[in-house]
């Protein structure tokens, strides 16, 4: 009798397990409170949708792309995942993504910023929808700058001069990360700020052009004032340098730095009066500043099992109470993609937004003037016309070029020629370049 009861219980469990639909969600917000917010949203969604389970996994930035690729190769992609904008367009070009137009409709197309809608949008269809946006920032020690009488840098030469002046104060003039992703981000936005392009319309790399040579020389000049061994510093280490008072400026800063400063800097200086932001300067051949926009889109995978439920989950994610909880976890970095939430009183009343207003204003300026682009994207057209940017980023060729100039002291032209040759070989092997 006991055996029969056990077997019945077991079969019921198996049946219910079969009935449950699982939505696998991968995201890159590794900060504990952001992870908690996504989990909370998932639990609320499950409560409203019996029979649906949301499995949330937070992944480090560097791990995400390989993991997505491996899951696609294995035929087991998650339902939803964050990804670099250039990854999104690369996957879309291979027909691996499903449209998110239903989610866009539920939010109201006009309610979404124009800048955000340009990410992973192909032929009027939205294949990726940004979870939140934030731009890179030039963060500096305001108190030290005031003491030295430094002015906001308008040109790259001004910035180098400021870095030099800061370096007389017992700290490095500037801190920048040396890892592949951030060097690619840096190079992309500097080339844009100097009026250059990385590739022409025929996909030929343009590394030997004047704007890029000038960019390399600028990085070489600037990194003279970076801490010794800067090339070994990761992104989070550069924040440590900043709030640990080892460096006075940070070129690849982001809004999440405000949270880190409040948490880790000595209390007497952990505020916007001591850590402020300048608008990024313009290169000698450029006309306007440029910043990178950190705006990973949600992607819905064609090969996933429960795509309909995943769309419902995304709609739920963007509902005001859920989305507000999410963006408030890193309020200076995670800008909502909807105009309605941006104007919402509850959002505006977020205490951190009140405390770090100048940081918000500079980011809004970049976004409103369309000066912010995703990694390695110079013009919006690149998003769809250059599906190889993901491979270019992964290859590390651009980072090697920067290191050749900044560390090995090779002439910029020589380093650029070597990288040009490597990139051409890469693109030819993939059939993008004749």
């Amino acid at each position: 009798m006991r055996t029969i009861a056990l077997a019945a219980a077991l079969s019921l469990t198996v049946c219910s397990a079969h009935a449950q639909k699982v939505i696998r969600v991968w995201h890159t917000e590794t900060q504990p409170n952001s992870q908690e917010a996504v989990k909370n949203i998932a639990r609320r969604f499950e409560a409203r949708h019996p029979g649906v389970k949301v499995e949330v996994e937070a992944l480090a930035w560097g791990d995400l792309e390989p993991k997505i690729m491996q899951s696609l190769a294995a035929g087991t992609p998650p339902e939803l995942s964050h990804g670099q904008p250039i990854t999104c367009t690369a996957l879309q070009s291979k027909g691996l993504l499903l449209p998110l137009d239903d989610v866009v409709k539920s939010l109201g197309e006009d309610n979404i910023w124009e800048q955000v809608k340009r990410v992973c949008r192909v032929g009027g269809t939205q294949y990726g929808l940004v979870h939140a946006a934030g731009t890179s920032l030039l963060i500096y020690r305001k108190d030290v700058a005031q003491k030295l009488g430094l002015k906001p840098p308008k040109t790259w030469a001004d910035l180098v001069a400021n870095a030099k002046a800061f370096s007389t104060q017992g700290m490095a003039g500037i801190t920048i990360p040396g890892d592949n992703l951030f060097i690619n981000i840096l190079l992309g936005e500097l080339v844009k700020a100097n009026g250059g392009v990385l590739f022409d319309k025929q996909n030929r790399p343009q590394l030997a052009t004047k704007p890029i040579i000038e960019t390399l020389e600028f990085i070489r000049d600037l990194t003279q004032y970076a801490p010794k061994g800067w090339e070994g510093h990761g992104y989070l280490e550069t924040f440590t340098n900043l709030y640990g008072q080892k460096a006075a400026m940070m070129y690849q800063g982001y809004g999440r730095g405000a949270s880190l400063i409040e948490k880790n800097a000595p209390p007497s200086i952990a505020n916007a009066e001591h850590f402020d932001v300048w608008v990024k300067p313009v290169g000698p051949s450029g006309r306007e500043p440029a910043a990178q926009v950190d705006e990973e889109p949600w992607m819905l995978f064609k090969g996933a099992k429960n795509t309909r439920e995943a769309i419902e989950f995304l709609k739920f994610f963007y509902q005001k109470e859920n989305y507000l909880e999410y963006v408030q976890t890193v309020p200076i970095h995670l800008f909502p993609i909807t105009k309605s939430l941006r104007a919402d009183h509850d959002y505006q009343a977020t205490p951190m937004i009140q405390r770090w207003k100048s940081w918000i204003e500079v980011q809004e300026g970049y976004l409103n003037r369309d000066q912010g682009k995703p990694t390695l994207v110079i013009d919006w057209d690149d998003m769809n016309s250059k599906p190889y940017l993901m491979e270019v980023l992964g290859s590390g060729i651009l980072r090697d070029m920067v290191m050749d100039v900044a560390l090995e002291q090779k002439p910029a032209k020589e380093a650029a020629a070597r990288a040009q040759q490597r990139l051409e070989e890469l693109l030819k092997s993939k059939g993008y370049l004749k």
Binding site: A73, K94, G229, W230, G232, H233, L236, E391, G396, L426
Partner: protein, 283 residues
């Protein structure tokens, strides 16, 4: 005849398992090396030996090979020296020897990821304990020092393997050999050179062979060293570059060609090693 068939049938499951788990992946890797194949997307194109040609013409390949040789040779030499010295020490009688022996193998049992996280903290150039203790400001993960850091961490991690192997052999050397040498007036150094070393030769042969293969193909330690910062180009050894070609450039064919070449290099090195060793034995 029937007995022979039964024997084959009995061996078959094991042979099938070996073929499935070992030969198939190797064979697939070799097959891939003749194709232009994206690492993840379907479809491939036969290109013969073009991948091999491209690899041999790639200056990064040669640079990675050079870095890999620097890394593996220096770590092997240091592991041998430190491991053997530690084994000789731990073969002597002293109080709490058992405890010291247990502690000595600790680095080898610590998971690599844990070891690297600990060392990255210790060697942090701004806030690390090592710089503080030494009173220096060395950028351990910068261009000039990252290879040194990698070698130090690897030697720390793997010398206990040498220690264990050598210590086990030391404990089996007959003591009367030493006693006879003492009677003949041999001092400690001569006893070491003429008794201990020859007795250790067999185990050192195996240790050098294994550690050479493992260090030359070592991936996890350098890979973890460059996660979240670390001047990667300066410790981009051949396994790292092969991984990048496959999973960052998304070139499975070319990555496989590199892996095959790495395998061939090891086969040639092992063959040379065996040949040299045999000659030594004949002397």
């Amino acid at each position: 005849m029937r007995a022979a068939r039964a024997g084959w049938l009995l061996v078959l499951p094991a042979a099938a398992l070996i073929a499935a788990l070992s030969l198939y992946p190797v064979g697939y890797g070799i097959w891939l090396s003749f194709y232009n194949k994206h690492a993840f997307f379907p479809g491939e194109q036969f290109i013969g030996l073009a991948n091999y040609g491209a690899v041999l013409a790639d200056e990064e390949f040669w640079r990675s090979l050079r870095l890999g040789l620097v890394y593996s040779l220096s770590t092997i030499v240091l592991q041998l020296l430190i491991g053997t010295a530690a084994a000789l020490l731990l073969n002597e009688a002293f109080p709490a020897r058992g405890l010291v022996r247990a502690v000595a193998i600790f680095p080898y049992v610590v998971p690599t990821v844990v070891a690297i996280i600990i060392w990255k903290w210790l060697l942090n150039n701004q806030f690390g304990l090592v710089n503080y203790a030494l009173g220096v400001s060395i950028s351990w993960f910068g261009r000039d020092w990252i290879m040194v850091s990698l070698i130090l961490v690897s030697v720390w991690q793997f010398f206990p393997f040498v220690l264990l192997a050598v210590l086990a052999r030391l404990q089996t050397i007959p003591l009367d050999l030493y006693e006879a040498a003492k009677v003949d007036g041999a001092n400690a150094w001569r006893r070491f050179v003429h008794i201990t070393l020859p007795q250790l030769a067999g185990v050192l042969f195996v240790v050098v062979l294994l550690r050479s293969v493992w260090m030359f193909t070592k991936f996890d330690t350098p890979w973890l060293m460059i996660q979240g910062g670390g001047a990667e180009p300066y410790i981009r050894t051949l396994p790292i570059y092969t991984f990048q070609r496959t999973f960052a450039y998304y070139e499975a064919g070319r990555g496989s060609a590199m892996a095959v070449l790495m395998f061939l290099l090891l086969v040639v090195a092992a063959a040379l090693y065996f040949r040299l060793w045999r000659r030594e034995e004949q002397l």
